[in-house]
Protein backbone atom coordinates (compact mmCIF):
# COMPACT_ATOMS: atom_id res chain seq x y z
CA UNK A 1 0.00 0.00 0.00
CA UNK A 2 2.75 2.44 0.87
CA UNK A 3 4.43 1.77 -2.48
CA UNK A 4 1.23 2.80 -4.31
CA UNK A 5 1.20 6.06 -2.38
CA UNK A 6 4.90 6.51 -3.04
CA UNK A 7 4.48 6.21 -6.80
CA UNK A 8 1.45 8.53 -6.90
CA UNK A 9 3.31 11.18 -4.90
CA UNK A 10 6.52 10.66 -6.90
CA UNK A 11 4.64 11.23 -10.16
CA UNK A 12 3.26 14.46 -8.67
CA UNK A 13 6.73 15.54 -7.56
CA UNK A 14 8.36 14.92 -10.94
CA UNK A 15 5.45 16.42 -12.91
CA UNK A 16 5.56 19.55 -10.74
CA UNK A 17 9.32 19.87 -11.20
CA UNK A 18 9.04 19.41 -14.97
CA UNK A 19 6.29 22.02 -15.02
CA UNK A 20 8.53 24.53 -13.22
CA UNK A 21 11.34 23.99 -15.70
CA UNK A 22 9.24 23.85 -18.88
CA UNK A 23 6.32 26.26 -18.35
CA UNK A 24 6.66 29.44 -20.36
CA UNK A 25 4.51 31.65 -18.17
CA UNK A 26 6.11 32.27 -14.72
CA UNK A 27 2.66 32.21 -13.15
CA UNK A 28 2.07 28.61 -14.25
CA UNK A 29 5.59 27.75 -13.10
CA UNK A 30 4.66 28.96 -9.60
CA UNK A 31 1.45 26.94 -9.65
CA UNK A 32 3.25 23.76 -10.68
CA UNK A 33 5.75 24.38 -7.89
CA UNK A 34 2.76 24.30 -5.50
CA UNK A 35 1.82 20.87 -6.93
CA UNK A 36 5.42 19.77 -6.41
CA UNK A 37 5.49 20.96 -2.80
CA UNK A 38 2.21 19.31 -1.83
CA UNK A 39 3.29 15.99 -3.35
CA UNK A 40 6.59 16.30 -1.54
CA UNK A 41 4.68 16.81 1.71
CA UNK A 42 2.90 13.51 1.03
CA UNK A 43 6.30 11.85 0.66
CA UNK A 44 7.39 13.38 3.96
CA UNK A 45 4.34 11.83 5.59
CA UNK A 46 5.34 8.46 4.16
CA UNK A 47 8.77 8.98 5.71
CA UNK A 48 7.07 9.68 9.06
CA UNK A 49 8.10 13.33 9.23
CA UNK A 50 4.68 14.65 10.18
CA UNK A 51 5.79 18.01 11.52
CA UNK A 52 8.01 18.78 8.54
CA UNK A 53 5.17 17.82 6.19
CA UNK A 54 2.79 20.20 7.95
CA UNK A 55 5.37 23.01 7.85
CA UNK A 56 5.94 22.29 4.17
CA UNK A 57 2.26 22.71 3.33
CA UNK A 58 1.51 25.66 5.61
CA UNK A 59 4.66 27.74 5.28
CA UNK A 60 6.13 26.72 1.95
CA UNK A 61 3.13 25.96 -0.25
CA UNK A 62 1.09 28.61 1.55
CA UNK A 63 3.07 31.68 2.53
CA UNK A 64 6.15 31.57 0.33
CA UNK A 65 4.16 30.75 -2.79
CA UNK A 66 1.75 33.61 -2.12
CA UNK A 67 4.80 35.89 -2.05
CA UNK A 68 5.87 34.48 -5.40
CA UNK A 69 2.41 34.95 -6.89
CA UNK A 70 2.36 38.59 -5.80
CA UNK A 71 5.76 39.32 -7.32
CA UNK A 72 4.84 37.51 -10.55
CA UNK A 73 1.67 39.58 -10.75
CA UNK A 74 3.73 42.72 -10.13
CA UNK A 75 6.59 41.98 -12.52
CA UNK A 76 5.97 38.84 -14.55
CA UNK A 77 4.42 39.30 -17.97
CA UNK A 78 6.06 42.57 -18.80
CA UNK A 79 9.49 41.22 -17.91
CA UNK A 80 9.14 38.44 -20.45
CA UNK A 81 8.01 40.93 -23.07
CA UNK A 82 11.02 43.19 -22.42
CA UNK A 83 13.39 40.27 -22.84
CA UNK A 84 11.78 39.20 -26.09
CA UNK A 85 11.83 42.69 -27.50
CA UNK A 86 15.46 43.39 -26.67
CA UNK A 87 16.51 40.05 -28.03
CA UNK A 88 14.47 40.45 -31.19
CA UNK A 89 14.63 36.79 -32.14
CA UNK A 90 12.32 33.85 -32.72
CA UNK A 91 9.54 33.86 -30.15
CA UNK A 92 9.16 30.08 -30.09
CA UNK A 93 12.59 29.03 -28.86
CA UNK A 94 13.14 32.23 -26.88
CA UNK A 95 16.59 32.72 -28.36
CA UNK A 96 18.77 32.49 -31.42
CA UNK A 97 20.75 29.44 -32.52
CA UNK A 98 23.50 30.20 -30.03
CA UNK A 99 21.06 30.35 -27.14
CA UNK A 100 19.33 27.10 -28.12
CA UNK A 101 22.72 25.37 -28.40
CA UNK A 102 23.59 26.54 -24.91
CA UNK A 103 20.17 25.32 -23.78
CA UNK A 104 20.90 21.82 -25.08
CA UNK A 105 24.27 21.97 -23.35
CA UNK A 106 22.46 22.79 -20.11
CA UNK A 107 20.24 19.73 -20.49
CA UNK A 108 23.28 17.53 -21.17
CA UNK A 109 25.03 18.90 -18.08
CA UNK A 110 21.90 18.21 -16.04
CA UNK A 111 21.77 14.62 -17.24
CA UNK A 112 25.44 14.17 -16.35
CA UNK A 113 24.73 15.61 -12.91
CA UNK A 114 21.84 13.17 -12.46
CA UNK A 115 23.98 10.15 -13.37
CA UNK A 116 26.70 11.34 -11.05
CA UNK A 117 24.29 11.89 -8.15
CA UNK A 118 22.68 8.48 -8.66
CA UNK A 119 26.09 6.81 -8.62
CA UNK A 120 27.05 8.77 -5.51
CA UNK A 121 23.80 8.07 -3.63
CA UNK A 122 22.99 4.52 -4.64
CA UNK A 123 26.49 3.21 -5.12
CA UNK A 124 27.61 4.01 -1.60
CA UNK A 125 27.35 0.41 -0.53
CA UNK A 126 25.47 1.44 2.61
CA UNK A 127 23.50 -1.59 3.74
CA UNK A 128 20.63 0.43 5.19
CA UNK A 129 19.72 2.04 1.86
CA UNK A 130 18.04 -1.14 0.71
CA UNK A 131 15.87 -1.44 3.82
CA UNK A 132 12.70 0.26 4.90
CA UNK A 133 14.40 2.23 7.65
CA UNK A 134 13.99 2.21 11.39
CA UNK A 135 11.18 0.05 12.84
CA UNK A 136 7.82 1.52 13.74
CA UNK A 137 7.97 0.36 17.35
CA UNK A 138 10.70 0.62 19.91
CA UNK A 139 12.38 -2.34 21.52
CA UNK A 140 9.79 -2.27 24.31
CA UNK A 141 6.91 -2.56 21.86
CA UNK A 142 5.45 0.92 22.13
CA UNK A 143 4.97 3.20 19.14
CA UNK A 144 7.78 5.56 18.12
CA UNK A 145 7.34 9.26 18.82
CA UNK A 146 9.74 9.98 15.97
CA UNK A 147 8.78 12.96 13.82
CA UNK A 148 5.88 14.24 15.91
CA UNK A 149 5.71 17.96 16.79
CA UNK A 150 6.59 17.18 20.42
CA UNK A 151 9.70 15.29 19.37
CA UNK A 152 10.82 18.03 16.96
CA UNK A 153 10.12 20.77 19.49
CA UNK A 154 12.06 18.93 22.14
CA UNK A 155 15.05 18.59 19.81
CA UNK A 156 14.85 22.22 18.64
CA UNK A 157 14.86 23.62 22.17
CA UNK A 158 17.51 21.32 23.61
CA UNK A 159 20.13 19.90 21.27
CA UNK A 160 19.64 22.31 18.38
CA UNK A 161 18.94 25.49 20.32
CA UNK A 162 21.89 27.32 18.74
CA UNK A 163 20.82 26.39 15.21
CA UNK A 164 17.29 27.51 16.03
CA UNK A 165 18.45 30.93 17.25
CA UNK A 166 20.81 31.41 14.31
CA UNK A 167 17.95 30.58 11.92
CA UNK A 168 15.75 33.17 13.58
CA UNK A 169 18.48 35.81 13.25
CA UNK A 170 18.92 34.83 9.61
CA UNK A 171 15.20 35.39 9.02
CA UNK A 172 15.38 38.79 10.68
CA UNK A 173 18.37 39.84 8.56
CA UNK A 174 16.66 38.62 5.40
CA UNK A 175 13.47 40.52 6.23
CA UNK A 176 15.41 43.75 6.78
CA UNK A 177 17.42 43.13 3.61
CA UNK A 178 14.27 42.53 1.58
CA UNK A 179 12.76 45.79 2.79
CA UNK A 180 15.97 47.70 2.03
CA UNK A 181 16.29 46.19 -1.45
CA UNK A 182 12.70 46.70 -2.51
CA UNK A 183 12.04 50.12 -1.03
CA UNK A 184 11.31 53.11 -3.19
CA UNK A 185 14.59 54.89 -3.75
CA UNK A 186 14.82 58.62 -3.28
CA UNK A 187 17.79 60.50 -4.59
CA UNK A 188 19.46 63.11 -2.40
CA UNK A 189 18.54 66.00 -4.66
CA UNK A 190 14.99 64.83 -5.18
CA UNK A 191 12.79 67.45 -3.57
CA UNK A 192 9.48 67.02 -5.27
CA UNK A 193 7.46 67.01 -2.11
CA UNK A 194 9.19 70.05 -0.62
CA UNK A 195 7.07 72.47 -2.59
CA UNK A 196 3.93 71.52 -0.77
CA UNK A 197 3.20 74.45 1.50
CA UNK A 198 2.10 73.62 5.00
CA UNK A 199 0.84 76.12 7.56
CA UNK A 200 3.95 75.58 9.66
CA UNK A 201 6.18 76.99 6.93
CA UNK A 202 4.37 80.32 7.12
CA UNK A 203 5.21 80.86 10.76
CA UNK A 204 8.77 79.65 10.94
CA UNK A 205 11.88 79.70 8.74
CA UNK A 206 12.18 77.08 6.07
CA UNK A 207 14.93 74.89 7.46
CA UNK A 208 14.06 74.88 11.12
CA UNK A 209 14.90 71.63 12.77
CA UNK A 210 16.85 70.15 9.85
CA UNK A 211 20.52 69.35 9.34
CA UNK A 212 20.79 72.35 7.03
CA UNK A 213 20.10 74.66 9.97
CA UNK A 214 22.60 72.81 12.13
CA UNK A 215 25.50 73.36 9.71
CA UNK A 216 24.54 76.94 9.06
CA UNK A 217 23.67 76.71 5.38
CA UNK A 218 20.19 77.60 4.32
CA UNK A 219 19.11 76.13 1.06
CA UNK A 220 16.34 77.29 -1.19
CA UNK A 221 16.15 80.85 0.11
CA UNK A 222 13.61 82.92 -1.69
Amino acid sequence: MSSVFFFIAAIGVIAGALGVVLMRDPFFAVLSLVVHLVSLAALFLLLRAQFVAAVQVVVYAGAVMVLYVFVVAYVGGEGEAIGERLRGSTPAAGGGPVASGLRGLGAVLGAALLVELLIALLGTGLEAIGHEGAPFTTAHGEAQTFGTPAYIGNLLLTRFLLAFEIASFLLLIAAVGGVVLARRRRGLGDEEDEDVLTPLQLVRPRDTGTMAEAVGTQRGRR
Binding site: S2, V75, E80, G106, L121
Partner: protein, 99 residues
Protein backbone atom coordinates in the same frame (compact mmCIF):
# COMPACT_ATOMS: atom_id res chain seq x y z
CA UNK B 1 9.49 1.14 -0.07
CA UNK B 2 13.21 1.07 0.45
CA UNK B 3 15.11 4.28 1.12
CA UNK B 4 16.95 3.99 -2.20
CA UNK B 5 13.78 4.98 -4.09
CA UNK B 6 13.50 8.20 -2.14
CA UNK B 7 17.17 8.97 -2.73
CA UNK B 8 16.78 8.39 -6.48
CA UNK B 9 13.76 10.70 -6.53
CA UNK B 10 15.70 13.40 -4.66
CA UNK B 11 18.54 13.13 -7.20
CA UNK B 12 16.04 13.51 -10.07
CA UNK B 13 14.44 16.59 -8.49
CA UNK B 14 17.82 18.14 -7.76
CA UNK B 15 19.07 17.72 -11.32
CA UNK B 16 15.80 19.00 -12.79
CA UNK B 17 16.28 22.12 -10.67
CA UNK B 18 19.89 22.44 -11.84
CA UNK B 19 18.79 22.19 -15.49
CA UNK B 20 16.20 24.91 -14.84
CA UNK B 21 18.80 27.22 -13.28
CA UNK B 22 21.06 26.77 -16.30
CA UNK B 23 18.38 26.98 -18.99
CA UNK B 24 15.78 29.53 -17.93
CA UNK B 25 16.29 33.27 -18.40
CA UNK B 26 13.64 34.82 -16.19
CA UNK B 27 15.18 35.36 -12.71
CA UNK B 28 11.84 34.54 -11.10
CA UNK B 29 11.91 31.08 -12.66
CA UNK B 30 15.57 30.72 -11.72
CA UNK B 31 14.54 31.31 -8.09
CA UNK B 32 11.80 28.69 -8.44
CA UNK B 33 14.35 26.20 -9.76
CA UNK B 34 16.62 26.98 -6.80
CA UNK B 35 13.65 25.99 -4.63
CA UNK B 36 13.49 22.72 -6.53
CA UNK B 37 17.16 22.03 -5.76
CA UNK B 38 16.67 22.80 -2.07
CA UNK B 39 13.65 20.50 -2.00
CA UNK B 40 15.67 17.67 -3.51
CA UNK B 41 18.18 18.13 -0.70
CA UNK B 42 15.36 18.19 1.85
CA UNK B 43 13.93 14.92 0.58
CA UNK B 44 17.31 13.22 0.87
CA UNK B 45 17.77 14.60 4.40
CA UNK B 46 14.40 13.30 5.55
CA UNK B 47 14.97 9.94 3.89
CA UNK B 48 18.26 9.57 5.77
CA UNK B 49 16.55 10.66 8.96
CA UNK B 50 13.98 7.89 8.45
CA UNK B 51 16.75 5.44 7.68
CA UNK B 52 18.41 5.90 11.06
CA UNK B 53 15.22 6.58 13.05
CA UNK B 54 16.77 9.84 14.22
CA UNK B 55 15.34 13.36 14.14
CA UNK B 56 18.51 15.27 13.29
CA UNK B 57 17.85 15.16 9.56
CA UNK B 58 14.39 16.62 10.06
CA UNK B 59 15.82 19.53 12.06
CA UNK B 60 18.32 20.12 9.27
CA UNK B 61 15.47 20.06 6.75
CA UNK B 62 13.65 22.73 8.78
CA UNK B 63 16.81 24.87 8.76
CA UNK B 64 17.06 24.40 4.98
CA UNK B 65 13.47 25.61 4.65
CA UNK B 66 14.38 28.69 6.70
CA UNK B 67 17.32 29.38 4.40
CA UNK B 68 15.01 28.95 1.39
CA UNK B 69 12.60 31.50 2.84
CA UNK B 70 15.48 33.97 3.33
CA UNK B 71 16.64 33.38 -0.23
CA UNK B 72 13.13 34.03 -1.55
CA UNK B 73 12.91 37.24 0.47
CA UNK B 74 16.22 38.65 -0.82
CA UNK B 75 15.75 37.38 -4.37
CA UNK B 76 12.26 38.78 -4.77
CA UNK B 77 13.45 42.07 -3.26
CA UNK B 78 16.18 42.24 -5.89
CA UNK B 79 13.70 41.45 -8.68
CA UNK B 80 11.35 44.20 -7.50
CA UNK B 81 14.32 46.59 -7.37
CA UNK B 82 15.25 45.61 -10.94
CA UNK B 83 11.71 46.26 -12.05
CA UNK B 84 11.65 49.67 -10.37
CA UNK B 85 14.82 50.76 -12.16
CA UNK B 86 13.34 49.67 -15.51
CA UNK B 87 16.07 47.08 -16.05
CA UNK B 88 15.21 44.05 -18.20
CA UNK B 89 13.98 41.08 -16.15
CA UNK B 90 16.32 38.69 -17.91
CA UNK B 91 19.52 37.14 -16.61
CA UNK B 92 21.15 37.23 -20.05
CA UNK B 93 20.68 40.98 -20.35
CA UNK B 94 21.96 41.78 -16.87
CA UNK B 95 25.70 41.80 -17.27
CA UNK B 96 26.54 44.55 -14.83
CA UNK B 97 26.27 44.56 -11.08
CA UNK B 98 26.62 48.31 -10.66
CA UNK B 99 24.27 49.90 -8.18
Amino acid sequence: MSIAWYLALSAIVFSLGAVGVMVRRNPLVVLLCLELMLNGGNLALIAFSRMWGNGDGQILALVVMTVAACEVCIGLGMIVALYRRRLPIDVDELRELQG
